[in-house]
Symmetry: C2
Subunit: 116 residues, 2 copies
C-alpha cells in the first residue's frame, strides 16, 4: 500500500533546526529569488550585459536582441521595478543604463562558475 509521502517525518531534527537558525528572514529569501528571477531569462541577461557597455535606447535593445520593441519594453519595466536599470529621457527617446554595479558582479561571478 504505497503512500504519497514517506512515513518518515524528520530523520535528523538537529540538522533541520540548524538550517532553520542559519536561514535569513523570509522577506530576504523572497527578494533573493526575485533578483535571481530577473536574471533567469536569456533576453534579460543579454540586455543587462549589453548595458554594461553603455546606455542604449529601446530600439537599440530590440535590434540587438532581435525581438519586438514591445517585448523589450515589458522586460525593461520588470528590471526597472527591481531597480536593476534606470533611464533618462532625451526628447522622445529613453536611454536605459544599469542602476548600479551589483548586477555586473553577479553575472561575472556566474560566468566564472559555468566556465570552470
Amino acid at each position: 500500500m504505497p503512500t504519497d509521502q514517506c512515513l518518515c517525518r524528520i530523520i535528523h531534527q538537529d540538522r533541520v533546526e540548524r538550517a532553520s537558525q542559519a536561514m535569513p528572514p523570509n522577506r530576504e529569501t523572497d527578494r533573493l529569488s526575485l533578483l535571481f528571477k530577473a536574471l533567469a531569462d536569456q533576453s534579460r541577461i543579454k540586455m543587462l550585459m549589453a548595458l554594461e557597455q553603455g546606455e542604449m535606447c529601446v530600439c537599440d535593445l530590440a535590434a540587438f536582441l532581435g525581438v519586438s520593441e514591445s517585448a523589450v519594453s515589458h522586460q525593461l519595466r520588470m528590471l526597472r521595478q527591481l531597480t536593476l536599470v534606470a533611464n533618462r529621457r532625451e526628447g522622445p527617446v529613453l536611454y536605459y543604463r544599469l542602476a548600479d554595479a551589483h548586477v555586473s558582479q553577479l553575472v561575472r561571478l556566474a560566468l566564472e562558475h559555468i566556465r570552470e
Copy 2:
C-alpha cells in the same frame, strides 16, 4: 494609425554592434540563465542555503521547507542536473550536499545587494 512596432529600426547602430561584440556566445548566456533559473525559486534558494550548513537528506529538507518529499525530490533532480548539488547514499538514505562553493558565493553577493 498606430503600428504595433516602432518604425525606427536602429537608432544607434554603433551601440548595437558594440554590445554584440562584447556578448559571450549564446551557449554561455544560455547556461547563465539556466544557472540563475535554478536560484529563481524560494524553495530552491532555501534548500541551497540550508545545505551550506552541511549535508541533509530528502526528509530533512522536506521538513525544513514544509513541503512534500516528492516536491523536494523533483527540485533536487533539477539541481543535480545542473551539478549544483551532489549526493551520497547511506543505506536507503540519500544525503545531499552542495557540489561546490560557487553557489554560496553567488547567494552571498546577491544578499549583499538586496541588503544595501
